[in-house]
Amino acid sequence: MPERIVIPFGPQHPVLPEPIHLDLVLEDELVVDVIPSIGYIHRGLEQLVQKREFTEYVYVAERICGICSFMHAVGYSQGIEHIMGIEIPDRAKYLRTIWSECSRLHSHLLWLGLFADGMGFENLFMRSWQLRESVLDTLEDTTGGRVIQGTCKVGGVRRDIEKEKLDKMHRQLDPFEEQCRELGDVFLDDDTVKYRLKGLSVISKDDAYALGAVGPTARASGVAMDHRETGYAAYGDLGFKPVVETAGDCYARCAVRVKEVYASIDLIRRAIDQMPEGPLDVKVKGTPDGEYFSRVEQPRGEVVYYLRGDGTKYLSRARIRTPTLANIPPLVKMLPGAQLADVPVVVLSIDPCISCTER
């Protein structure tokens, strides 16, 4: 009869520097049950919407997360724009798309590095982060900020990318893609990686859908759901197709992210090619009066901004449902059956962002 013990995992852990707490119920080395806890760094940012003018809250939204900060700004801004009936210029839509995809690139490359680190593959970790640096350099070159860009606003964007910089970005994409494919080949073809990941913590398509999984976690189980398909920003013009795998294991979740890196490079390339001329923003008049559920696809999955305005310059409610919160139930279902040693890799496979969760 195996002995049953409870091991606390987190809130701080060497492979997961984000404070999620999991009580792992073990029978010997086998995980049989999991109880999650959050709230360790809860910041009450939703309530702050009642104390910041609706145009200022973009700054708060950007600071919910340091990885997908730009996409938080897009989700919030387009929600306000919908409530106020604002149609932003086409060039602003394309610029939002380019910076969103740059954010996805650096998020996925960061994750690939952490995932490699979680498996003990130090060299792969460093190579992933080396490539991520070049994306951060591009963000800094085009927005002035590496982590917080501050370029998205209600009504459009604040900064343009001049033709010379767009040409430079375009020229850099081919060698960058080649390097990413070399890196991706290691993740997808290396025997050690396959041995660690294949068949680990499988979640079926039906379970992923029923449990509300989003993003690569859902798509790795065959759920072809990516909010970019709705064509927000410029995605409707770029012929976007979601990346889908079917195995539902840790390897499939890794493969989705590797292939999404290639897809993002392609989207940036096409956005640069099709970039329209024109203004960057429209003047915002009045105050939001109404409500809207704004949804965008972040690197970890769909984020939902529920915004409600009552005709004053302060919103009465901002509710932000982030992808990690949606992926906690699938995580709780996928961990039982794993060995204790595999827990860090399985937890990392949903790409948890506790900063987003603790908004």
């Binding site: 809130p11 404070p19 707490h21 009580d23 119920v25 049950d33 109880i35 806890s37 959050i38 709230g39 360790y40 809860h42 859908y209 029923a210 449990l211 509300g212 909010h227 398909e229 709705t230 064509g231 995605y235 409707g236 012929g239 809207y292 559920f293 949804r295 769909e302 939902v304 529920y306 409600r308 009465s316 409610r317 509710r319 449902r321 919160l325 949606a326 906690i328 139930p329 699938p330 279902k333």
Partner: protein
């Protein structure tokens, strides 16, 4: 290709909530989120569902201290949203499959994960 996204919101009475959620579950909708809004002396709770990017909301309006039945028996993953709703807004939700009893978001504890804390947590996996 672009998929048109539709958003609809319908009001639902407390006694019909579970039945309406069951109908959406049977219709193949996934649970997107449950979110609460303070509307001055009352609470609005939005139950959001999605199927093929068609967004359907059930809106429940309740007074303070009204007990809300859990929908975690229908959508297992609803426990995160229902515990959050309880912890942040104080709304009592009955019958959650994993009821953290106020400790999911540890807003009430100054040092929630202190290693010197004794007695353990009251939450249990049902």
């Amino acid at each position: 290709m672009t998929v048109n996204e539709e958003q609809t919101t319908i009001s639902v009475a407390l006694e019909n909530l579970v039945r309406e959620v069951e109908a959406l579950h049977a219709g193949g909708y996934r649970l997107v989120q449950i979110g609460c809004t303070d509307v001055g002396g009352a609470y609005e709770i939005n139950y959001s569902f999605d199927k093929g990017y068609q967004y359907q909301n059930l809106r429940l309006t309740i007074g303070p201290d009204t007990e809300v039945p859990s929908v975690s028996g229908i959508y297992w993953g609803a426990f995160v949203y229902e515990n959050e709703m309880h912890d942040l807004f104080g709304i009592p939700v009955t019958g959650i499959n994993i009821d953290f009893k106020g400790t999911f978001i540890r807003t009430a504890e100054k040092y929630p994960f202190s290693v010197t804390r004794r007695g353990g947590d009251s939450c249990r996996n049902a």
